[in-house]
Symmetry: C2
Subunit: 904 residues, 2 copies
């Protein structure tokens, strides 16, 4: 007989899984198994695998029979271990039902607690705990959660109050109490009756008394929540494929809300905001876990537990050590103390700010917990940017008023207009202004508003509150629990220390120090930049020390060179300070807009013959030559890849009549000629029109002038003893004959300049690969091109047939439907564009083994794309100057990943 | 010792080559060898291979040493055979030097005759022929030709007279004679002195007396002429690669101008204009071959030779028979009679009109000269169109005045404005009007003007004149030698039978009958169409009989199905009459423009919510349903491929303020809303914007309505007993999720319509492949798509990154530089787009072996592209109705070519 596939994995006294099985069990399930394996106190339970998630959706929301059977068997064994029965009237076993995906997606999916309570078992619970108030409170919480999550009884809209809350508040009012835990068992029973009526009225069905039905309903709700709007949005931001699915963890309940000898908490083995190596966390006495995360009650810092429960605290300190030593990474764990007994409910690698990621990795390496390669691999490449962002100017900080302090939950400096709702933040952002989201607490509904805000500030909640958590994940500047703020949503204002601050007023927050300022504070460059620019001594900045150490490690590992996209000496210098190794893209046309050069450019465009055009072009020559001399001097012999004129000419001409008339007068030509020419330049699809090398072919005198400017600059530099390494790049080639035409011009001009000047020099000529046809013909192109650089922006536009400028009108729908797994203009579309690139690389190398291949589209600064570029064997990536450190780190990671894969 | 590569092939008493060596020897060289092999009288000579053409250009215009050596050896052997020596002062051997490419390019490249004459050898020629006048005339002609072709002494510009002609005309005037052959030997010697002075003055060099130098110069000029502007233009039109190159034929001269016992002529083994099986041709007594072709003297019809030279005529009739029996194709040959002895100078497969191509192939098959497959293969697929073009209305012809008759050189009917110069024709055409080029004779300089004219009419020249020849090749309506016309270029008018006709007046020519009419004549459908439409009995039209026979042969052979692009029942019926086998593309949006539907469409576009949109869309539903019912009824159960809405919405809205205001009023909405919405629809690159399935995804109600209209039409047809075969096609898919989204809608609607109507029906859902990404992801797409159709227009635009609408601004330069081997929007760019298509086919078939694959871009009606589609294994091509016969013929040829290749 064939063995049935395993869909349900147990943990507890008997454990099937381990930490390596994340894909199948999700992160939470795998780590529950692992904790059980290493002897930590885990309440027993079981995990339904991620594979079931897709099967559940495909089956129209029904669990496959085999899964149901295995679930029932596992449940029986939990009953045996705990010694209680599910739905029992005397000693009922209760469960929590939680999601758990391969990657943690905190707060995005649904959870049900206290499952297994009904009108009968609640009495059993009351008896066995001798605490009827606790039992009915649990039942009340369960019905509320189940009604919301499974039976979908919600507030009508965002302006209405949650209907369960409404009943609760009314009950408290009629009982004359302030807090939930002041309600008596009888009062709670009254609430339960109200809840049940609410559910029947809203859904036409009764709240289910059958615990089996409860469990199936909860499992289904968790699986369904994988595809709720929040979860989809989150996946898009973090590039998590919808195909992965979530697992469901069914675990026997323990209670932190059984009195003052019970507690629940969340802790980190290090500070997730600053990365500091301290025990960090918070807890609430007599509470359930959701209370901590939801941020409704402000929890106590973990250190206070030493006094409240000294034994438990001691146990926790040991657990902290055991976890870090076992997992060798910063852990974020949840615990519950039920009547003085500690239970571990979850552990996972803790989310951390970019800053903390760098610090923790470097310090763990220093302390021998991990090796250098692991340290590099563990830092999300984007994180390093957080060492480079501007910080508040210390002097200017003194000028403004410090109005509050809170917990620093996301380092950095942010200023913006106060917004008291996510919607307002979106509105302010939509107007192109900076928003600072300011809430008592945040919840998953606020996520869009958080995304667009410069910073997040809350008056309640601790470092494990939703706001802190999301800030860590998104790299937002954030302060939580700034208790001095009294926010009044109704009046769209807040009071703090006698001040009233209205919506739209300017605030500043220092997420590193946890300080809130009234008004806007000036910024200065990051410490790293201050050191690089020579205004701060390297020894004075520990941040610079971290930066420099990490960069030197990256330089040891990486194979990819990192070049810059830079159009001016200033930009080039900025990138060179970060260790850029040359210029991968200089857009010569940007130079045409400066000063009165634009007039010569326009004169060229308006010329009626090649001779006239040549005269106009000649006037541009000295300017271009000076530009190139500047760039060569900045580069000191590093490669300078210079792209010839690319954009359509209509970008250079004025489109309004007044400027056209002025231009006509200036050039002493009839206005009608200007207007007619501008009209003739209009194109249906300029992206696919008369641009790139098509310009150089129609107007060879332009290519000739640009080549001459480059070579004359080379000669002048050579005479001044400045080394040069020019690489001339022909844009938008699709046919090899286009390239041959332009390359011939370049070689002719080079020969002429050598002849005239008597100076010999080296140079390369190559092309951009930015059309699908160029990818296909790369073999042929490489016969002529000495180097090729992927223009991945245009290549993406043509391969997808999608104009980046026009996609706004349908992007919203596309995101909602998860049509792109990632935005193809941010991260290379590996399955489409990526295949063409790989094909081009292979064909080009077959023709010319040692050809230099690079990328100069915006993808060159995106870590995922950088790794892809490494994998297909490019020589370099070129990116904007401030992305150089990110690209270097990603390049190092790519090399290490490849090395690891090879050694397998 | 290694054998040196052979660059020079001899023909004559010893012959190295044969007819199969076209690629190496060119058509002329290969056939000279073949004629020598079968015993026809060929003056001895040698051929320098096409391989040398590229070597010559690469070597900077110098013959490689090995070639030069082989040439000298071959020359020596010709001297031995003929018994004369090259450059000899007593019995000089003279040569002709002619081009000869793989495909004949008549009149496009240069030729030199009488080479080997100099001041000394001319005296030898005079002695040995005892005809000093002849000798000096030959020398005069040689210097003129050499001066023009090799030494590049030309008229200053198109308005100036040729400087050699100027000297000649002046000499005739001073001698008081009218014709060249009335000049005495002494007068000719005077002209020769004038010519030499002209050359020295114009070039600073002497006309070369060294015959070796003469020969090298001529060979070089012929090789160079491969790349003159005319030749490049010609190659572009006929898709001949520049890489092929030309061979050079050096042949000992014979003279048709040695008196009244000498002659020169051109003949065809059948009539190249009508295809009739008669001996056809013309000759001139006492003339050189160039005189016939140049059309300067109007030659005599070949039949007259029976009286002039009965023996030679008998020999020629035998040669005609021998050539047709040997080559089994209509031959076009040149002969010279030197003092009553016949020499064959050239034979080749005769160019013929499309009409003649069909007739000759069918008649040769009937007579057992060739088999059916050869007959099919031999008809250029486009030719069949000439059986389908409208003809003059017989009644209307009687209304207008018949003003002249000429030789019918290109069948068909053409009307247009008289243009007396090619330039004028281009100008008239440029204005969007029809031009009729009317010249005394045409020359290669006129080729651009001929290309754009509706028809060509000459007053001089015979059927082998330049005009007749080009008309045959281009498929132009043409009459030559309409001697009654007296054209006066100076006054831009012509006189004929007492009338004066000015430039710009309307004329009509019937190229089948050879009749010229004053004014415009109405046309009626071709005989084929008259039969198909039932207005003419099949038995009454021999043309229809040919058409039907050929089509039935094609249907036997071809593997590709031929579908129609048709948006209305009327278009569908037109294509079905030609044997279309279904619809490959119905553009549903075209239906939205009819009547007041556009208002509903605009209402839909202006809707502010999905609900409003749904209301507007519902109004379109009944119209769409009726459209589809009409199409299904026309198709009677053949496949109907219906594409959902594709173009960007801005194509449906008014862009001028008045219409916008009217629309606002009609829809009772504010004008500002209309204006704002129209503004919002504007896109930077609409080709790459919000269109195709992106619309259906943003506005699913539109897809839903279209699917419903289709299925409701299916149900209604079914109820009326009309079979249907709907195939719904989703446009512009790049991501498989896009397709899945739209397919889901279609299936949902189908299920709903089945449910509502209680009628079951079949349908398919598929997609267009029109983006590079779709080609790459075809394997995945085929998991969902039941069929795929290549949208080769958009696929070409995206693969090449080139907008068809915008390429006008650089196309001229691109053509001049031969950057495209063929216009990629007319013929599939095999190396780029073609590779993507082949890749898509392979991937789609790997997923779904039996998937139906087609093409519905405009390439579907282009013969070369049809063959490509066959080669990659498509199921069908879809083209506009009137291209169906062409596509069928091309499909049959493709199948036969594949069969032939397999049997090899």
């Amino acid at each position: 007989m064939m063995q049935e596939k395993k869909f349900v994995y147990e943990f507890g006294a008997h454990t099937d899984g381990n930490a390596k099985m994340r894909e199948l069990l999700g992160g939470k399930g795998a780590n529950l198994a692992e904790m059980a394996n290493i002897g930590l106190p885990v309440p027993p339970g079981f995990t339904i695998t991620t594979e079931v998630c897709a099967a559940f959706a495909a089956g129209g929301g029904k669990l496959p029979d085999a899964v149901n059977r295995q679930k029932n068997e596992a449940l029986k064994r939990v009953e045996e271990q705990v010694g209680r029965r599910f739905g029992d009237g005397k000693e009922p076993l209760l469960f929590s039902v939680r999601s758990g995906a391969r990657e943690s997606m905190p707060g995005m999916m649904d959870t049900i607690l206290n499952l297994g309570l009904n009108d009968v078992s609640v009495q059993g619970l009351a008896n066995v705990t001798r605490n009827p108030r606790f039992a009915y409170d649990s039942y009340r919480r369960f019905i509320q959660m189940y009604g919301d999550v499974v039976m979908e009884v919600h507030a009508k809209d965002e302006h209405s109050v949650d209907p369960f809350e409404e009943i609760l508040v009314a009950a408290k009012k009629s009982a004359g109490v302030q807090f939930d835990n002041q309600l008596s068992a009888e009062q709670l029973q009254g609430i339960i009756v109200g809840y049940k009526e609410l559910i029947r009225a809203a859904t036409g069905r009764n709240f289910p008394q059958d615990v089996g039905e409860q469990l199936l309903g909860a499992i289904g709700a968790v699986f369904r929540s994988w595809n709720n709007e929040r979860a989809i949005l989150y996946r898009q931001k973090y590039g998590i494929p919808g195909e992965w699915g979530t697992a469901v963890n069914v675990q026997s309940m323990v209670f932190g809300n059984m009195g003052s000898d019970s507690a629940t908490g969340v802790a980190f083995t290090r500070d997730p905001a600053s990365g500091e190596n301290i025990f960090y966390g918070e807890y609430l006495i007599d509470a359930q876990g959701e209370d901590v995360v939801a941020g409704i009650r402000t929890p106590n810092p973990i250190a206070a537990l030493e006094k409240d429960m000294p034994d438990v605290y001691g146990e926790l300190v040991a657990v902290r050590q055991k976890l870090e030593n076992h997992f060798r990474d910063m852990q974020d764990f949840e615990f519950t103390v039920q009547q003085n007994k500690l239970y571990m409910l979850q552990t996972r690698n803790g989310k951390r700010t970019g800053f903390a990621a760098v610090r923790i990795a470097l310090e763990m390496e220093r302390d021998g917990l991990i090796d250098k390669k692991t340290a590099i691999a563990r830092i999300p490449a984007d994180s390093i940017s957080s060492l480079l962002v501007p910080i508040f100017n210390g002097e200017d900080k003194k000028r403004v008023k410090l109005i509050a302090r809170g917990l620093p939950a996301g380092p950095g400096a942010a200023s913006g207009k106060v917004c008291f709702s996510a919607k307002k933040a979106e509105e302010v952002h939509g107007r192109g202004e900076k928003a600072l989201l300011c809430r008592a607490e945040t919840s998953p509904e606020d996520i869009r508003g958080m995304l667009v805000s410069e910073g997040i500030l809350t008056s309640r909640g601790g470092v494990s509150s939703h706001a802190a958590l999301v800030a860590r994940q998104m790299g937002k500047v954030c302060i939580v629990g700034a208790a001095a703020l009294e926010i009044d949503y109704a009046s769209h204002s807040m009071r703090v220390g006698g001040l009233t601050i209205g919506e739209g007023e300017e605030l500043s927050i220092d997420g590193t120090a946890g300080e809130v300022f009234l008004g806007s504070v000036a910024t200065v460059p990051s410490e790293v930049n201050q050191v690089l620019e020579g205004t701060l001594a390297a020894g004075k900045s520990s941040i610079y020390t971290m930066y420099a150490k990490l960069m030197s490690w990256c330089d040891e590992c990486r194979k990819l060179k990192v070049y810059l996209n830079a159009d001016s000496p200033k930009q080039a210098l900025a990138g060179l300070r970060y260790g850029g190794e040359g210029i991968g893209l200089t857009r010569t046309e940007h130079m045409f807009f400066e000063g009165n050069r634009i007039d010569f450019m326009r004169e060229m465009i308006l010329a009626e013959s090649a001779e006239e055009r040549e005269l106009a072009v000649a006037k541009l020559l000295p300017f271009q030559r000076e530009d190139f001399i500047g760039i060569f001097k900045a580069l000191k012999g590093l490669p300078a890849t210079i792209r010839l004129l690319d954009p359509p000419l209509h970008e250079f001409v004025p489109h309004d009549e007044d400027t056209q008339r002025a231009l006509a007068k200036k050039l002493s030509i009839p206005f009608e000629r200007v207007r007619a020419r501008v009209g003739a330049l209009r194109e249906f699809n300029p992206m696919l029109g008369h641009r790139g090398c098509r310009l150089g072919i129609s107007y060879p005198e332009v290519s000739r002038m640009q080549a001459r400017a480059i070579f004359e600059a080379v000669v002048q530099c050579k005479k001044q003893g400045v080394a040069t390494h020019p690489e001339i790049m022909i844009p938008l080639v699709g046919f090899v004959k286009e390239l041959r035409h332009q390359v011939t011009i370049v070689h002719e001009v080079a020969a002429a300049v050598k002849e005239e000047s008597g100076v010999d020099f080296d140079y390369l000529v190559g092309t951009m690969i930015e059309l699908p046809r160029a990818c296909l013909r790369a073999g042929e192109i490489a016969e002529i091109a000495q180097f090729c650089s992927f223009g991945s922006n245009d290549l993406t536009q043509t391969t997808l047939g999608m104009s980046r400028d026009d996609m706004g009108s349908f992007l919203g729908h596309y995101n909602g439907l998860e049509i792109f797994s990632q935005n193809p203009f941010a991260t290379i579309d590996r399955e489409g564009v990526g295949e063409l690139m790989a094909m081009a690389v292979e064909r080009a190398q077959r023709t010319r083994k040692e050809i230099v291949l690079g990328i100069c589209g915006e993808h060159g600064g995106d870590p995922v794309s950088v790794k892809f570029c490494h994998s297909i064997g490019l020589t370099y990536v070129s990116c904007s100057p401030n992305r150089v450190p990110v690209a270097k780190l990603a390049a190092a990671q790519a090399a290490l990943e490849q090395e690891a894969a090879k050694s397998k």
